[in-house]
Amino acid sequence: MKKDIALELCDIRREFRINQGFFKPAATLKAVDGVSLRLMRGETLGLVGESGCGKSTLAKLLLGLLPPTSGDVLVNGKHLAATDRKEMSRHIQPIFQDPYSSLNPRKTLREIVTLPLIVHGIGSTAERRKKTEAMLDVVGLPKRVIDSYPSQLSGGQRQRVAIARALIMRPDVLICDEPTSALDVSVQAQILNLLQDLKHEFGLTYLLISHNLAVIEHLADRVAVMYLGRIVEERTRESLFAEPGHPYTRALLDSVLTPDPRLGIPEIGLHGTFPNPMSPPSGCAFHPRCPSCFAPCKTAYPANDSIIGGNVRCHLHDTPAQTLELVHS
């Protein structure tokens, strides 16, 4: 059974110590505060969250770029911490958000895409050339740009190069961190189509991180919602979009502006602003903004309740027995 789990996070945590100057003690920023996720082989898991929720830190943890403060990451059943990063890079690769800074401006496309093969010592020079050209063809880039520099390409073309670089090692898992957020709408569609095609062609597993729920709905099989370093909801795509369990998810869904001129501006119903991650609210971290906040929300951190298609951390979904327990405590 372990083989079917491509990526697993076990209660992963990452804290940063923030220097507050000479007179105050250093504060602890809990960027990722106990995340457990499972990514099954061949599926796309969408991770939704706004800025400051910790999703970028999570991506770095998964790629081995940051060590976790505690908890485990398992890639194909093997512990990330115990595996040499070079070895792990053959299984899990990133695609980043900004096509303008994800490629070295001083290298040609050929050099960029061939680099992984060189680092891992794969193939002779001739074989590498062939692989690179084949890969660029797969992502839809014409041969004539292979010796160009990134500055000569458009955002969409650069993102294709980034995809080619990530896939040339035939990894199992691709961490896509906002892959289309910096692209124009028409280009976004091309890249999303490409990602979908490649997933089927190469049997990939995707972790798709995005704040854009429309993109997530289009590509993800399952969706996890992140807020202030924690997963607040994890459901199948159909069940989440049909009936969001967590009020935050509901707010995110309501914020999606579909191009329907008959509808006006949605009423989101959230109070206040994003809390300071260095002093998170007590109990459920979302309670100061939640329209459905009630008594236990301020004091007790919600347990992971099961609902249709997954689970959610919200007192609204507590069983009567759980609510009774909270009242008594």
Partner: protein
């Protein structure tokens, strides 16, 4: 009479050292549009279409090497082309105001909110500083910021992105301008804050009867707030229509292509290929002729290489030889639930 009258606005930027015709970037190519009082006009386009340059051209804030020209550019009857810089300074912030994209850098970090807000008023009108501060507090409350007097003493770095954007909106309103140009004001904000700011802009616009030119790349946003929409491509307006008509009956192939490429929960089928527009935006350096979209358009014919006239019907304008109503108007349908 319309509030803002723009006719044949052009922005040219010389690319090389010598301004030869071959080296000239024609970033904005003959824009013609009007904005009525109290109207929300959305200019929508992708990167490189010239929408930001258009907003800068209206304010006369273009980079030094850019050349602006227009047959007519009037705000409430005041000619804006021939104005000296001094007179433009009198107009800016006073009769027309601008809201920029980046809330993090639009406010000067060295001055308090109160200082920056009151300065707008004292620059243009004869008011005492005390009155200006009082009005600033009023404005902050209008944009939904509580504890106004305390906020006035704070500095930009003490506020979140959403709050800063509200302050910037308040700043734009200080002198009660006739026209506000908002250049992607919500792009840098979180999705849950975006809706709040949009609602704020819309409510204030209606309450004060302001005209707003809202520039964005987000078609969904446009659908929700616009009275009228102008679609820009490669320096030109390719389609203009009242919002409802544009979305239900897009006539220009580019507009149709854009609409087909947006994933819409509940409408586009998950996993299925999204419509996309092949090719890239053409280079605007050197002389241009004909439809700029023709090498990406499935319907292009030989005649598209000549300059295309505007086809107008019932306030719906499209710059395309094929601009006729679509066989069946596109209506948003709920996807059947499995």
């Amino acid at each position: 009479m319309s509030l803002l009258h723009v006719e044949n606005l052009r922005v040219d930027i010389p690319m090389g050292n010598r301004p030869t015709p071959d080296d000239m970037l024609h970033a904005v190519r003959g824009l013609t549009f009007e904005v009525e009082r109290g109207e929300m006009l959305c200019i929508v386009g992708e990167s490189g279409c010239g929408k930001s340059l258009t907003s800068l051209a209206l304010m006369d804030l273009l980079p030094r090497n850019a050349k602006r020209s227009a047959s007519r550019l009037t705000l409430d009857g005041i000619d804006m082309i021939g104005q000296s810089e001094r007179h433009m300074c009198d107009l800016r912030g006073n009769r027309l105001a601008m809201i920029f994209q980046e809330p993090m850098t639009s406010l000067n970090p060295a001055y308090s909110i109160g200082d920056q807000l009151s300065e707008v008023l004292t620059r243009h009108h004869k008011v005492s500083r005390k009155d200006a501060i009082a009005r600033a507090a009023q404005m902050l409350e209008k944009v939904g910021i509580s504890n106004a007097t305390e906020r006035l003493r704070q500095y930009p770095h003490q506020l979140s992105g959403g709050l800063r954007q509200r302050v910037i909106i308040a700043m734009a309103l200080m002198c009660e301008p006739d026209l506000i140009i908002a250049d992607e004001p919500t792009t840098a904000l979180d999705v849950t804050i975006q809706a709040q700011i949009l609602r704020l802009i819309r409510d204030i616009q209606k309450e004060l009867g302001l005209a707003v030119i809202f520039i964005t790349h987000d078609l969904g946003l446009v659908a929700r707030i616009a009275d009228r929409v102008a679609v820009m491509y490669a320096g030109e307006i390719v389609e203009t229509a009242p919002a409802r008509q544009l979305f239900e009956n897009p006539q220009h192939p580019y507009t149709r292509g854009l609409l087909a490429s947006i994933p819409i929960p509940g409408r586009t089928r998950p996993g299925e290929a999204l419509g996309s527009i092949p090719g890239l935006v053409p280079s605007l350096v050197g002389e241009q002729q004909g439809c700029a979209f023709r090498n990406r358009c499935a319907q292009a014919i030989a005649a598209c290489a000549q300059d295309i006239p505007e086809v107008e019907q019932d306030g719906h304008m499209a710059r395309c030889l094929f601009a006729t109503p679509a066989p069946e108007p596109i209506r948003l349908r709920e996807r059947a639930r499995s």
